[in-house]
Subunit: 598 residues, 2 copies
Amino acid sequence: MSTYEARLAALREQLKADRLDGFVVPLTDEHMSEYVGSYAQRLAWLTGFQGSAGSAVVLPQEAAIFTDGRYTLQVRAQVDGTHWSYQSVPETSIADWLKLHAPEGGRIGYDPWLHTDEWVKRARTALADKGAELVAVGRNPIDAVWADQPEPSRAHLIVHPDRFAGKSSAAKRQEMADWLKGQKADAAVLAALDSIAWTFNVRGKDVEHTPVALSFALVHDDGTADLFVASEKVGDDVRQHLGNGVRLHERRDFEPALAAMAGKTVAVDPERSVAAIFEALGKAGAKILAKRDPAVLPKAVKNQVEIDGHRAAQARDGAALSRFLHWLSIEAPNGRVDELIAAARLQQFRQECGDLRDLSFDTISGAGPNGAIVHYRVTEETNRPLERDSLYLVDSGGQYPDGTTDVTRTVAIGTPTAEMRDRFTRVLQGHIAVGRARFPEGTRGSQLDSFARQFLWSVGLDYAHGTGHGVGSFLAVHEGPQRIAPVGSGQAGGDEPLKAGMILSNEPGYYKTGEYGIRVENLVLVVPVEAEGAEKKLLGFETLTFAPIDRNLIAVEMLSPAERQWVDDYHKQVLEIVDPQLDGEAKAWLEESCAPLH
Amino acid sequence: MSTYEARLAALREQLKADRLDGFVVPLTDEHMSEYVGSYAQRLAWLTGFQGSAGSAVVLPQEAAIFTDGRYTLQVRAQVDGTHWSYQSVPETSIADWLKLHAPEGGRIGYDPWLHTDEWVKRARTALADKGAELVAVGRNPIDAVWADQPEPSRAHLIVHPDRFAGKSSAAKRQEMADWLKGQKADAAVLAALDSIAWTFNVRGKDVEHTPVALSFALVHDDGTADLFVASEKVGDDVRQHLGNGVRLHERRDFEPALAAMAGKTVAVDPERSVAAIFEALGKAGAKILAKRDPAVLPKAVKNQVEIDGHRAAQARDGAALSRFLHWLSIEAPNGRVDELIAAARLQQFRQECGDLRDLSFDTISGAGPNGAIVHYRVTEETNRPLERDSLYLVDSGGQYPDGTTDVTRTVAIGTPTAEMRDRFTRVLQGHIAVGRARFPEGTRGSQLDSFARQFLWSVGLDYAHGTGHGVGSFLAVHEGPQRIAPVGSGQAGGDEPLKAGMILSNEPGYYKTGEYGIRVENLVLVVPVEAEGAEKKLLGFETLTFAPIDRNLIAVEMLSPAERQWVDDYHKQVLEIVDPQLDGEAKAWLEESCAPLH
């Protein structure tokens, strides 16, 4: 079973045994997580696709893999086109594809623990045209043929103390209880792992780069809760921290607990809870109230302690990145650096700051054409040296107990071409336009997205990803509900009104396939802004990320006076925050890198 | 029955007789029209509200009127607050309000010919919580008590010749037939009046300012059609124009025709067809295919003949408006002009061009504080003189056989304040930002909306309406599906990708309640744009409207060089197009008004 071809054949055999004419393979887990534990990497195991978002459908004679614009190149590089057809979302969807390709009257399997109820309904309707049926499987057929599937992690939970959380779990649960009373509901299901970690002020190590623990929870209208997590993972410190208000159960007891909710009104988030949860509650005779998970918004709106923590984490992270950029400025021109070496060295600089718990995602270390692969992940096979007169793109971040970071810098190795400088400057202008934006309360992230694209659009260029995503506090580096992205594109859009305290990335880019990639990314905090005579409460952004932007790539003559001022002001702040943490040559390099543009 | 109080009481009596505990009063007709014939002005008759969008609910003890941000002031001025509570959409909705206010177990009536199927489902669900029921009425209870309700119009249809339409009705219907075959459907319902007018290349006079005829149509997969329209309105010229492929029926025979569609697959637009149509087809046993009306997109994407027609109409209209602005510059400072006189004089200038068929909407002629009422309509009661050192806002348009116009100018009477100039300049900068925008094919109007707002936002200001709407060709002045407006706000948003050939308004504004209103509006055409090295097909806007923008209101020092250039270029175009049509003092005035800024 060492080849993907053999795995696909084995799955088809299993489907035959299970009397299924097809099976849908998403990339998620029982919590609708974006990043999942190794046991849930079924899509990668089956197809070889290493991206962070995608899905597949296997039929007896056909198989298709569905990815979005970020992975157009990567999916073709990693997945065998002789066995798989490549499909782009949102242009098509699994439901649309099944409508055309599913066998008439066939039985298409799905795992009810890996799909939303909404997805099941949509796919069922699409199949109805063919007289085909969507069938919930009892056991995932991939698990049946995946001989060396990893066990779920047994890592211990850790306490996330109030000095980082800024609010006790009891206080958070009391607010949820008040909300439940207002909704006339008895309890809320928490299925999203970061919502559970946030609510109970605990962290875990079950998912790479996202400090969460595999668990479910029920929060009740009296502020108490049931937490379903493998007992072997809960030490005395965590038990004590959780206190009497939290009853501990094994994770496998979650489904039976749902079955015991007869007659109760239960709030369930249709986007963050899988179909199996809806089914179990429905069978039990509970009344389901479809509501957004009550942790989502308070988790997104950081409190002052979390904001202060973010600032502290960012200051250390900025120093680590600045040290790395200095190191790169010396080593890269000598031709001794490749993508793997660079990523490792950057991680080492972060570790030297002492508080690093994990990276916040796999570092994207892309030299030359690899920089054009939006979510590139370097391997021994794809590793490239940083060549003279090329661009190097590095997108990376750290998990610190006081905050999560995510930053991208694009660096000219040697002398950039005029085109590279033009493109970089347009990307930077977009970044600045978002950073300088002011907007009334109630404005959605979608309404800011085009500010980032306008300078590329004007010459017929664009980038195939959103402009910004929310970021957690020592939690998921992609955290909802806020985003800066167009809505209505079929992808998760930026439909959430921005609120003071939300943290977002600001990361426009430009990618020239086969040549180079450019991205400029800082994290920003939504803050109130005062303006004389304002009729609306105004919001704006405060930049949280501090590391120099490569001046060799800035075509200063393209900048307006205000844009130029923004760059100089930003570099002045970088100096104030990072310079005291550096010494020797790195300090001298930073000062030169942060001098006013001329 | 001369007072609104008496009308409300009479309706309540009628509801009691009909055994109803409430009734919903929308402002639309059997075609989901935005502007409706006088017979369908039930909301205005009942409440006194004269705005173009709104709805009401009457319960035994309570009554509420629902309007959007454009009408916040107007509804309070026109509707008696002692009998009606004012509700704002999208903050609330009829469904939400009924959820709170409907009597437990009550029967709430609705007219199935005046609501979409979707609306009925949503309202029914909302009422279910109260055990209340939504009841389709056989006869509208307002019609029962409205003694002098006007008869539907008997105006004759007129032929819209191919030299203006650019494509024959037979060719349009053949394209629909091809589309129906692709959808495996037998026929499409056309219920929207402008879709019918466009499809058959006919126009009518049944709705003020929108040249449509009350009618329904069925288009079949062989390219033939059934047109349901009062036979007394169809002269020989129209019969001959329609030809053998179009079977004529009385309008009242539409419902029986639906009942005869048993076994057929029928495409129906859920946004543009009322619930009664869905019910009739459902009862008949037809298969309903919910699809957008196939006329909507080809009607929005103007062909070359229509574009040329628009340009010609705009040139004449610009000359009429320029003459008016010249007249205003002489008369207003003498204190002899009021809103009614100005609106009448402007209409006269338009009529003098010879081709005017109608205004395209009631002229908004707003002096001083009346300019702050977004959809203001001057009456004898509200009429104000144009006072010295105030602003005058005039939003108007004409229906010409070759095109429909819509233009707003804001004029300083006397000397504007620094604040007025600041606000006007910010609005103008927004207008220019949209006008100069370039964007890749596939971009939605929503993605351009913030360009128009950014200069107001930066000082805490905004406007409570969309930035742009589509415009028809000698048809509706508000024509979908394209819009420039945020999506996700609960109002019709700009979710439609823009396509070359679409015409939109570009009309940011600023309104200071009780003081003044500002709006700058031109129509623009979406055009392909060439850019060297472009990786995407690029689109941009060509301005279609030509009349001077008041230079006394422009704070030149606030403009960037590019913005200043835009104004000078625009005025140069105005001169080229309008100057040859003027003479004497008006010509001299125009040349002065269009000189470069200094």
